[in-house]
Symmetry: C2
Subunit: 215 residues, 2 copies
């Protein structure tokens, strides 16, 4: 197992404090020295790299909607349901979520710092395109959306298999409160949509992995 | 300092794993044996008692609204903004929140298990009284509401002073999506309302404390 993958497994299972570098290098089939060769900063630096890989967003602000419905709001829904679908299947996502919400870690807060500005920017575009109800404030909505995701993510830490369904339901509840009826009828917040996005990304990742070697 | 109060301080600062029973009894001015006298189950039992005291809800399902607006939805808002106002001021609330969201603890999940059924029951009453928009499902809304609270609670762990404002904003975002315009115009989700409820409860607690001795 590659070093990073081993680190993701151990951090996901044990959290930062209880994760031992010995367990990580053993799982990776390496000597202790190898870890410090790649990560001179040791465990904290390794944790930061895992968090970075675990969080990514399917759509960048400023990009155009890819879903046939052409909605900017779909981009936010997509990011949420795809991460919800990914989390039970991906130790990087699990490790990143855990490291970013354990309050004594250096990586605490990375989750909301990464997502709130991006969600906020896309909701601003969504608002400008007339997809949102009058009076909906993009930034406040983005904050609540991300907070709700984090709360659900924690709630399902021990019932990971239920997470895609939970995130799909959470998205349906939120969009019902902010989208115009015309937007609502076109949106897709289903678990199946999350699954499709996950599979597309895995294919893209596999294609990119075959082109370059990963440490 | 009383034993329970000392325990709340130590659990709030350190979390369950890092909290030592030695620190707790020292802060309480007691010997180690005293802890096991009151709590034969030791640290886990003490933690459970702290969580129990840290979570309480201002309104019980089945009770009548006390706010002059007579809204059931106000009862849910009240519970949320009052806990948001209490958290920075009360080590029991801080310790309970931390113990209930640290995923390896016995107390994990107490927060949502305690609140979701109660919020759901009150939202059901709110719906029956015509306060909610058509199509709003009480239980799904309750889940999202509690998840969002938990997410905000974690986000502000290191910026506790901002929590009342954050919870007030979160409530405003949620009610805007579920309440009828007639309900919305009467609701009060302000920080000041949270402060008032907190003060009323502190007075009631002080009156009850002077009547009975607390361990």
């Amino acid at each position: 197992m590659a070093l990073l993958e081993a680190a993701a497994h151990v951090f996901a299972e044990s959290g930062f404090d209880a994760a031992s570098t010995r367990d990580i290098v053993t799982a990776a089939g390496l000597q202790q020295g190898a870890l410090y060769h790649y990560y001179p900063g040791g465990k904290p630096e390794l944790a930061e790299h895992v968090v970075e890989l675990g969080f990514h967003m399917y759509a960048a602000p400023g990009s155009e909607p890819t879903h046939p419905n052409g909605l900017y709001l779909q981009m936010v829904v997509d990011a949420s349901i795809a991460l919800g679908y990914r989390t039970p299947r991906d130790k990087f996502a699990q490790a990143a979520a855990r490291l970013a919400t354990d309050q004594d870690q250096r990586t605490f807060g990375v989750l909301w710092n990464a997502y709130i500005p991006r969600v906020s920017a896309i909701l601003q575009q969504s608002s400008e395109h007339g997809e949102l109800l009058q009076g909906v404030r993009p930034e406040e909505t983005a904050i609540t959306w991300v907070e709700a995701f984090v709360g659900a993510d924690i709630r399902y830490r021990k019932r990971l298999a239920e997470m895609p369904e939970a995130i799909s339901r959470l998205n349906q509840t939120i969009v019902r409160g902010i989208a115009t009826p015309e937007t609502l009828v076109l949106l897709d917040a289903s678990v199946e949509r999350g699954a499709l996005l996950y599979e597309l990304e895995e294919e893209a990742r596999a294609a990119s992995d075959s082109a370059e070697t990963v440490a």
